[in-house]
Amino acid sequence: MGEGHGGRSGASHDSSELRGLDPEELAAALQRSVAAIGADGPPRVGLARIRRRAKARQRRRTVMASSAGVLMLAVVVGSVTGSKFDIVPVLTGVVGLGGNSTSGAPTATPHAGSSGQVRTVRPPAAMAGKKGPAIGPVTASATPSALASAGVPQCTAADLTAKATVDTVINGVSYGHVDAVASATCAVAGPPMLQVENLAGTAVRSVVILEHESTDGSQLPAVATWGAVLKLQAGQGFTLQFAWAPDECSAAATGSAAAGGSASPSLSAPANQSPESTYSLSYLVSGTTPTVPADLQAACGATVYVTDIYRPGAYAPPVATASPTPQASTSSAPAPTQAPTTQSPASSSPTTASPSPAATGSATSTGSGSATTGPATQGAANATAVPSSTS
């Protein structure tokens, strides 16, 4: 059943020739009217394009169906378990909420072995190989299921005495640790939650806190866990280590670099410190209460690498005799040549600007001026913005 009423091809109709219209004439006239359309046949690439779009649509539908399924599961789990299970990180990881890989914002993925309390935020592809996964925002509203299974209450600020300390500086990178001791039986869950502040309130833009990975170039120990749950008796404690790697100053930030005395760690703090270059790093107990901070310096922002919590003594801190290079030259961590002890402020302004693919992410920050990991602030994701010029 084709369109078989052929006729004069492509002829336009005068109204006078169609006034005595009968069905046969109408059929032939219709054929003639549109005979010129599509006369060249179908576009050669048309079918491939149709197949491509059909498959893309099918994929989208599959994703939508999966998302709906996960959402249903979340509703069911939430109604059954109440607030004992924090489904939000799982949801955001599976469905992909909270991240847009094409816009430069971090993409949320659930971290393997996580207790469900903390999710990692993978940097966009542009940052691949430059920085490790940042510790992203989490929610503090729900009790982690891992802690619930410990059978003891979560450690609060009243239960813990914690202090952050800088131990040594190796190649311009400050290494330190946080020691915490419990005064009562309680449980604490990793990954640790850190807060970095400076007096100028720019830490949220200039500091990024990342999970330590073996490939990040820092000399932190390879702690086997990420999200460990430790049950502490009174007098017992836990430790975590961190590395403070000041970022290279971009050309635009030369003035600030000069003022801040290069990328200088705290133990060799320059004389002319500024509100922007003086940072304090503290551990957040239960994700909310900061402990005694460690003072650190960075003229143009910094990258913090942090390990999971562990039993004291399980891992040795870095020692100054080792000399691997922290981070690649394109990363934000300074190369050994940027060590403040070997370089003057005038010569410490590299010509390569620090990468800043996620700089726009800070637009939604809480404005607290602090870069925080853990459940304390949802806006902490914006702290993962790559160090930008604060000059």
Partner: protein, 167 residues
């Protein structure tokens, strides 16, 4: 040995090559904005591609495509009334290639008269006389009774004749 999917894929390819032009013409007769015709036909093929596992006979595939073109054309007209477009952008290469043919269509007295008909009348006339479908097939495609198809067809021809005489 060819799988069902292979057979269906070949059927789709064959249908595309044989009937793309006639479906494009069908859309051109139903739409008052010819620029959307390629979009409508392409969308129909995308949908039939998604449904290819269910439609494995050539006749049914063509009927499905025609029905989809009619429905999409109707939706396009409805959305245009609201100032919206059906699809984000037209296929640039196809639109430019057909430009001359569409310009001629705009001047065709029959086409202008056809566009002045009621939507149902136009759909019935186009499917019945351009696509050479039986009254039962038109009824199935449009979701009408055969009696309604006859009535729309008869009144449509009368209205068309009146409009042509008035031009």
């Amino acid at each position: 040995m060819a799988t069902d999917v292979d057979v269906t894929t070949d059927l789709l390819t064959e249908t595309y090559q044989r009937h793309y032009s006639s479906l494009l013409r069908l859309a051109a007769l139903l739409l008052d904005d010819v620029a959307s015709c390629e979009d409508v036909v392409q969308e129909a093929f995308i949908r039939v591609h998604a449904a290819r596992a269910r439609v494995r006979e050539a006749d049914k595939l063509l009927a499905y495509l025609r029905q989809t073109v009619v429905n999409l054309s109707r939706s396009t007209l409805r959305r245009r009334l609201l100032g919206l477009k059906l699809l984000p952008k037209p296929m640039p290469d196809a639109a430019s290639a057909e430009e001359g043919a569409y310009a001629a269509l705009e001047k065709d007295a029959l086409i202008q008269a056809l566009r002045g008909l009621q939507r149902r009348q136009r759909e019935v006339l186009v499917l019945r006389y351009f696509s050479d479908m039986t009254e039962a097939q038109v009824a199935a495609a449009l979701g009408l009774s055969i009696g309604s198809v006859k009535a729309y067809g008869s009144r449509g021809i009368d209205a068309l004749r009146v409009r042509l005489e008035g031009q």
